[in-house]
Symmetry: C2
C-alpha cells in the first residue's frame, strides 16, 4: 500500500469489534516495527508490555480516559472495547527523556496495525499508579502511553479546518467522527510565492 494511503487510513479509532481477537504474534510483529525504528542517540530506552487476553485487557481498560473532547461519552461500551493493548514504557535506567522515540515508535506500530486492517488510538490519559500496581510493572519504568488496538467499528473523517473554527474533533448524530485538520498553507511558515502555492495538495 502507498504510504500516503496508509497514513490517511490511520485515524484514531475508539470503538472496535471487540470479538475480533488480536494474537500475541501480531503484537510482537508490531513491536518489531517499533524496535527497527529510529531512536535518539540510538539509546533505545522504550520497552513494551503486551496485552491480548481478556483478563489483562479488563485490567487495563478501567485505567484509561477516552476522547477528552467528547464530553457526553465516557469511552467504548462492552463489546466495542479494544482487543489488545501495547503499553509503551520508558526505561529510566537507560534514559530520562523519551519524547521523540515514543512518537516515532507509535507511528510505526499504528501504521503496521492499519496495514493489517486493524486500527488503534494513542491514549495518554492513564491512571498510571493504578495500572503499574495492577500489572506489577517495575518501578524504573515510566508509563508513557498506551496504544489501544482493534478492528474498527466506526467511521472517522478528516475535514479541512475552517477559519476561526475549533480544532476539536466531534461526533455527528450518525456517530461519524470528524477531525478538522490545518491546511498546508497554515503549517508551512516559509514565504510561499504563487507558483509554490499551486503545489500545495
Amino acid at each position: 500500500m502507498l504510504l500516503k494511503t496508509l497514513i490517511k487510513k490511520n485515524r484514531s479509532y475508539r470503538r472496535f469489534h471487540e470479538k475480533h481477537k488480536i494474537s500475541n504474534k501480531i503484537l510482537i510483529s508490531l513491536v518489531d516495527l517499533a524496535r527497527l525504528s529510529g531512536s535518539s542517540a540510538n539509546l533505545q530506552p522504550l520497552k513494551y508490555y503486551l496485552s491480548y487476553a481478556a483478563e489483562t485487557n479488563d485490567e487495563i481498560f478501567p485505567c484509561l480516559k477516552w476522547a477528552g473532547y467528547l464530553k457526553d461519552w465516557s469511552g467504548p461500551a462492552e463489546g466495542e472495547r479494544p482487543s489488545a493493548y501495547i503499553i509503551m514504557l520508558g526505561d529510566t535506567n537507560i534514559s530520562k527523556s523519551f519524547g521523540y522515540d515514543a512518537g516515532i515508535a507509535s507511528q510505526s506500530i499504528l501504521l503496521g496495525a492499519v496495514e493489517k486492517e486493524l486500527a488503534g488510538c494513542i491514549i495518554g490519559s492513564i491512571d498510571r499508579g493504578k495500572l503499574k500496581s495492577t500489572l506489577k510493572i517495575a518501578d524504573h519504568f515510566e508509563i508513557l502511553l498506551i496504544i489501544a488496538l482493534g478492528k474498527p467499528k466506526e467511521k472517522v473523517l478528516i475535514k479541512p479546518l475552517e477559519k476561526n473554527k475549533s480544532i476539536k474533533y466531534w461526533r455527528d448524530q450518525k456517530g461519524v467522527h470528524h477531525v478538522p485538520k490545518r491546511s498546508m498553507e497554515e503549517i508551512i511558515v516559509n514565504p510561499l510565492n504563487s507558483s509554490q502555492l499551486k503545489l500545495l495538495p
Copy 2:
C-alpha cells in the same frame, strides 16, 4: 512496499549525493504526510520551514552538529551534504509541548522519503539561536528538530546488540555504518513463556 521493508530501509543517513536535487514539490508532499498524521488532542502545533535551494541549505548546515558518537568525524564534506532540510517548529501560541507529535510527524516524513528512494537523518543538536536569526524565524516558534534529506551515499547496517556491549553506532574501515539494536526479548517486559519466545523474530 511493505511497511516493514520501508521501516528497515529507513536508517539515519548522514552522507548524500549532494548533486541530487530535491524539489520543493517533494518537500511539500512529505509535509503533507506529517499533516495527515496524528496529533495529541488534535492541536496540530507543528509548523515547517522548508529548504531545498543551495543558498538556504548553506545557511542551515553550519548550525548543525552531526553523529555524536563519531568523534573523528565533524559531518559530511562538501558534495556529500543534504540536498534539502525540513525544519520542524513548535508553535508555542498553540501548545507548549510537542514531543509525541514531533516523533510521529518525523517518522511519517522519513518513511515518505524512503518511499521516494531518498533518506534522511533527524538532527537535534542545533545552534538554535543562530539558525533562528539567520532564517528570520519568528520568536513564538521553537525549533524542535531538523530532518536532513538527500540521496544516500553510504551503507548503514542494523546489527543485534550483543550482551554487555555498547549501543553506540560506529563506522568501519570501509565506511560502513553499524547500528546495534536491542533484541525483542530485551524490549518486551511481559513474562514470556517458551511458546511466546518462539514467536519472536
